[in-house]
Symmetry: C2
Subunit: 149 residues, 2 copies
DNA sequence: TATTGTTATACTCTATAACTATA
DNA sequence: TATAGTTATAGAGTATAACAATA
């Protein structure tokens, strides 16, 4: 079971047999590449997730926090930065004035579109060895696991 | 590490369609659970990986660093702690006296076995919705992706 | 001159708790 | 009394550079 270690290949050691480790490693590597691709846009993986989540729904900061397992104080900082950059707006929720409804500005939409384009490319390259059928299967299994988790 | 999530289900938002995001999220969640299971052993995900890697081969710190994309200075700290705990030994490599050959002590082996047992349980629970055939497929695809990456 | 491992330091990230305003 | 959001601060984790020993 001792294989030579090539560039990005999975390390040849005891953990090779563990699907859980492989899953973690793959998740780590794709995040790394996504962050490389997003660096020119001054986005990290996390800020990209938040931007995407805010797009479709008028989420509160609390909801963003739960969605991505982020500390609420971290969300404050992220939204502060987005507000300053002009990508996101805070509006008090009419029904519950403690909460904010977060929304994207046109500039925010524009950055998000560019980010989506870049991460699409990363994803395609990363899943490169899987054919269309495999990719559909892979996605189905991930959804199944996450739905159950 | 942030707080544990109660709902592990994938968030219903724009990123749902992205296999890359689902992969990252699954990798994050399984690490979170592994770390919970290893906490009584005073291991983190990373220190567990290192312990497992050191078991089969007389790796150098440099090799450990590359294997898991860790900063070399971080590896120093990890091995320092393992040495103090009596789990790992450093021996100068005979052929190249700059390097250490790292090796597990019997106590290190014992902790690693217990850690393996616990992470096996986590992995089984996490992949719970997949049948044996799906698990084999899932693992095959991960290996394919990582081999290409 | 390059590489392995180490130390020191600065920086970033995260966790904790206390606070406000609303409910 | 509880919740959403904020602020301040301390602690942990990480990156950077300089260094010694060896190649």
């Amino acid at each position: 079971m001792a294989r030579p270690t090539t560039a990005g290949a999975p390390p040849a050691h005891l953990l090779d047999n563990r699907t859980g480790y492989l899953l973690h490693r793959a998740g780590f590597l794709i995040l790394q590449r996504v962050e490389q691709a997003l660096e020119p846009l001054r986005l990290t993986g996390r800020t990209f997730f938040v931007l995407a989540a805010v797009r479709n729904h008028a989420l509160s900061q609390q909801e963003v926090s739960q969605l991505f397992t982020l500390d609420p104080t971290t969300v404050v900082t992220i939204i502060d930065d987005f507000e300053e950059a002009g990508f996101v707006t805070r509006r008090r929720n009419a029904a519950d004035r403690r909460r904010y409804d977060l929304a994207l500005t046109p500039d925010g939409e524009k950055v998000l579109r560019e980010a989506m384009k870049r991460t699409d490319q990363v994803e395609n390259a990363f899943l490169g060895t899987l054919d269309d059928k495999d990719r559909a299967e892979f996605r189905r299994m991930l959804l199944s696991i996450l739905g159950d988790a």
